[in-house]
Symmetry: C2
């Protein structure tokens, strides 16, 4: 069995590892376009900030680790064509030659590429001018080089999604003054405005200039600096970072005849099979089955890429693994706060045909008498008609176990729990770490109290 994998990031590596685990005789080769297999893209902000001093530490596993479990890594090999009929992939080598790899089964894990918003001037500017995107290790090195070369003291970040906010913290930690511009009228558009607003305040309290509801029109080199124009005025920065989301990198697969699905991502079933024979795909290049919506969405997340890669690796070897689905569960640390969410929000639930009610509560992370208690804001979304738990969003202090509290909700949603069921869970309690009714249960009880008084729409 020759398994060929295109891509050396989360999905591709997971597929290769799983295949070798299931069949130690499988011949597994990975084509890795750059020289950084299995790097944690999510960790880039912490290298930029200086908290991870050496970039090599961002690797989930070293090249030696990967080769030790029998993965053949072809670094610097960029796949340029798949021939599904011939079961071959053509790639360029580090020397610029072309070479061809045969396969019995193929896993496509080409990932995503940064979306370039339609901003005047962006097409003409790049790393040499101090204008950056951030998706690969090479992007990271270019950004760090720019900061050094331009002796950057100010940065403008276009986009206040989770990467934008993590980078705002990272660059602030490095000593830069940061301005964050966001088109939508709040930071972190994946959480409700009621939680985004205190998050924006927290950024401001740490010296970040935050402007949302601000469409960026143009970026221009202005002497040694860069000027970013918005309807509300101009901002100057020594560097500009554009982090406005990603789009799936599908050209290779599409050229080979792969059907595309939601948002132009590669269409796969829950076994990560494409429409092409013996070709699987996983990670940021595919659409993702959503566990509550029961349909495919585009939700590129590292945790999902690992899971999908594992399914693809198993099935490429003849297995019958099924991707259980995503809830879009996410957590982001911004300075001393953590924002997290899982499942549906009010408007996404309504769009999906539910009769949602979203109720906000605030409860301490642990008993107030024990030192260090901090409030957690929780917004629970449930279906008024059935009582089903649909989603939850949390905002609290980084020490308040927010990341695992959202996971309690994620677990409950996954099993079809009602909101009331969450209040009934036997959760742990010790005064330094919780309360007899945990904050997630206070939120569930609060939801029940309010929702029973809200008329159906």
């Amino acid at each position: 069995m020759r398994l060929l994998v295109i891509g050396g990031s989360d999905a591709g590596i997971s597929a290769g590892l799983r295949a070798r685990e299931l069949d130690p005789t499988a011949d597994v080769t990975l084509l890795v376009a750059d020289r950084y297999p299995n790097f944690s893209i999510c960790g880039i902000p912490y290298h930029v900030s200086g908290e991870v001093p050496h970039w090599r530490n961002l690797a989930h596993r070293t090249t030696d680790d990967l080769e030790a479990v029998g993965l053949h890594l072809q670094l610097g090999h960029r796949a340029v064509a798949i021939d599904p009929a011939a079961h071959t992939v053509t790639a360029t080598t580090p020397h610029g030659d072309e070479t061809t790899f045969g396969y019995d089964r193929l896993v496509v894990g080409t990932g995503a590429v940064p979306a370039r918003p339609p901003v005047e001037g962006l097409d003409r500017l790049g790393p040499a001018d101090g204008v950056h995107v951030l998706h690969t290790m090479d992007d990271t090195f270019a950004l760090l080089e720019s900061i050094k070369r331009r002796q950057a003291r100010t940065a403008v970040i276009v986009g206040a999604g989770y990467i934008g906010l993590e980078m705002a913290e990272a660059l602030t930690t490095r000593g830069l003054h940061v301005t964050v511009l966001e088109q939508v009228d709040q930071v972190m558009p994946t959480i409700d405005a009621e939680l985004a607003e205190p998050l924006a305040e927290h950024l401001r309290a740490h010296g970040v200039t935050v402007q949302h509801g601000t469409q960026v029109h143009a970026v221009t080199a202005d002497g040694d600096r860069l000027r970013v124009d918005t309807a509300a005025g101009s901002h100057h920065g020594d560097i500009v970072l554009v982090v406005t989301g990603v789009r799936p990198d599908v050209q290779l697969a599409a050229d080979a005849g792969a059907a595309l699905g939601v948002r132009g991502a590669i269409a796969v079933d829950r076994g990560m099979r494409t429409n092409l024979p013996d070709v699987y795909a996983a990670g940021d290049c595919v659409h993702t089955y959503h566990r509550i919506l029961d349909r495919n969405v585009y939700l590129p997340l590292g945790s999902t890429a690992h899971k999908q890669g594992r399914v693809a690796g198993a099935n490429a070897l003849g297995g019958d693994a099924v991707f259980a689905g995503s809830l879009g569960t996410q957590a982001v640390k911004v300075f001393d706060l953590v924002a997290a969410g899982t499942g549906l929000r009010d408007h996404t639930a309504r769009d999906a045909g539910y009769d949602p009610v979203t109720v906000a509560t605030t409860a301490d992370d642990h008993k107030a008498y024990y030192p260090g208690a901090t409030p957690i804001r929780i917004r629970v979304t449930g279906d008024r008609t059935t009582g089903r738990l649909l989603g939850a969003q949390l905002l609290g202090h980084r020490g308040a176990e927010i990341a695992k509290r959202v996971d309690v909700f994620a677990a409950a949603i996954s099993y079809g729990a009602s909101v009331a069921d969450v209040a009934d869970l036997d959760l742990s309690y010790t005064p330094p770490l919780g309360s007899p009714w945990d904050a997630v249960q206070v939120a569930a009880i609060g939801w029940e109290r309010v929702s029973s008084a809200v008329p159906h729409r």
Copy 2:
């Protein structure tokens, strides 16, 4: 509707609050034997340690709070007789008189009393001699008074359950040298020895003398000090604290004809109904429905008392609430470590007819490259035949979100999840707080790997 509640701790207060919430016209009276309604017994160690400077802060709610929601508190009223036929309760007043309260519905929340182990000398020694139990605020005041009066510099704690360990930390924090003696051959008998051993080492590293597998034979006053004799030798302390568990306080209910259940606790159904008409009971005085075992056990925990009290309060008003059941979920912080567990362990699962396999894994709480990562030891117990998740135990650093990670397992167990389901959950990931495969999922995958190779028993 006259609702009478015997007991002013977690179960009784929860019942009263729920009744008033459901029917603001209900006449709710609570007979509170001492003067400390709604105190957090679980918080006592943190007042003893000095971390909670004023004992009043240990109250979940003040007397004023409770009265503001319409609870009539009869402090210093100890119930001495229930007449179920006449629907009356006789109580002694603070002045030593007797008085009688009528009721339409009664909730018994008499709680538990400390178990006194059969140790020579214990019957003759008490707080005046520096020998203490610890279950009430009065016990707490007596202990603190003893520490002061005897200028205690050393303490011997008999019992290394969670209260014994929390008190070992508390007294060490106060500056005492502490010796902990435990009859069973490990500390924290509610978790597996493999996790208890590093916990004992951690206590030792903080200066606590830990001796397990040590039966205490006698306690004797020895000059100004106390001598505790074991088969392995004698230990001296200025004070002795006996914390070897509790037994349900059922005399009052039993005298009135209440049927008793497991371990002599008051027998109740899942609606918290006793066999006596219009009499409900909840909290440490009753047996508790176990969610996996599907039978009653004795599992006195504050979080459970709150939930049972809430059910009793609702049903006393004619509701049909059902106690969902306990998993024995528990967390305890001991210095810088947290031990936690939920569900069944290997031997309890085997006794219940399962074919359990328990697998140990260790994984970091978050990505190792981000500063401050610490290892979490997890032991997952699952049924070999069905793959069902039965229990989990965790040990890790206090900052490693152990308490909420055990809750993810608790949620999964509650919904009948398989171990494999845990690996499929869409849990949150951000490098400072987690990993693409969270530690709980590394544990689940580890279990699957090992269990598939273990033959059936």
